[in-house]
Symmetry: C2
Subunit: 117 residues, 2 copies
DNA sequence: TGCATATTCAACCATCTGGTTGATGATTAT
DNA sequence: ATAATCATCAACCAGATGGTTGAATATGCA
């Protein structure tokens, strides 16, 4: 896994990790809070966060005993640019984006993001 | 793996498959010709093509005993739109794209794509 | 000090992934 | 008909992935 595109695309291939990224779009979060909506152990979420970290998609900063996770969206740029070459996708169709993001968010285990719609 | 984003991102996470897509950007190809530049068995390439097919990134059409592979770049749209939400990437930076594509192509096993640069 | 909280580590497990080889089916050419 | 070519199938393998649990490590608080 030398190529950064490998790690970024692999990180994005998991729905739990995409949901985490969508959550971090709203705000920085502590690991425990990231884990809360998912029906899986804290350790599992911790591993997902490591994968997102290694892909450069998030940064984790420890303050006290709490580790804060924040989005680093620039890491997606290389992948996005690579993909742009395969079709002239309209520059940021926001309507389509909102529909997709809403669909992503509504996949969260206890549907808390549905309130935002 | 219900979500199409899962299969598309997973398909893109492998460098062999990205190289195949880059090759198909130039022209439709038969399976044997796709396999030629790689140091791996035809069966392995055949499996990669199945994965790209299932992700909707290519179409395969059999004519006679030859199966032709062609790019279906629209399948990347959903993934691209999803990513766009995480940062306002400039709408198609072609310079950057050319650099990335060249880097991708130069990763091909026997460097045949380097001739195009 | 002693206890609760936040997070990771370590070991383990089932399943998926990416590769191999040899056999097989389908098509074309001699 | 026979042989060669194109591609997949089937069985197998090593290593990665995504999850679990219980113990360990920090840190904060009383």
């Amino acid at each position: 896994m030398a190529d950064p595109l490998d790690t970024v695309f692999a990180a994005l291939a998991d729905p739990t990790r995409r949901a985490i990224l969508a959550m971090l779009l709203e705000d920085d979060m502590a690991v425990t809070d990231v884990a809360e909506p998912f029906e899986m152990s804290l350790a599992a979420i911790s591993k997902h966060l490591v994968i997102l970290s290694r892909a450069g998609l998030i940064a984790q900063e420890k303050r006290g005993r709490v580790k804060w996770c924040k989005l680093k969206p620039d890491a997606m740029r290389a992948a996005s640019v690579w993909m742009q070459g395969f079709g002239q996708f309209e520059p940021v169709n926001l309507d389509a984006f909102e529909r997709f993001l809403k669909a992503e968010l509504s996949d969260l285990p206890d549907g808390e993001a549905a309130e935002t719609g």
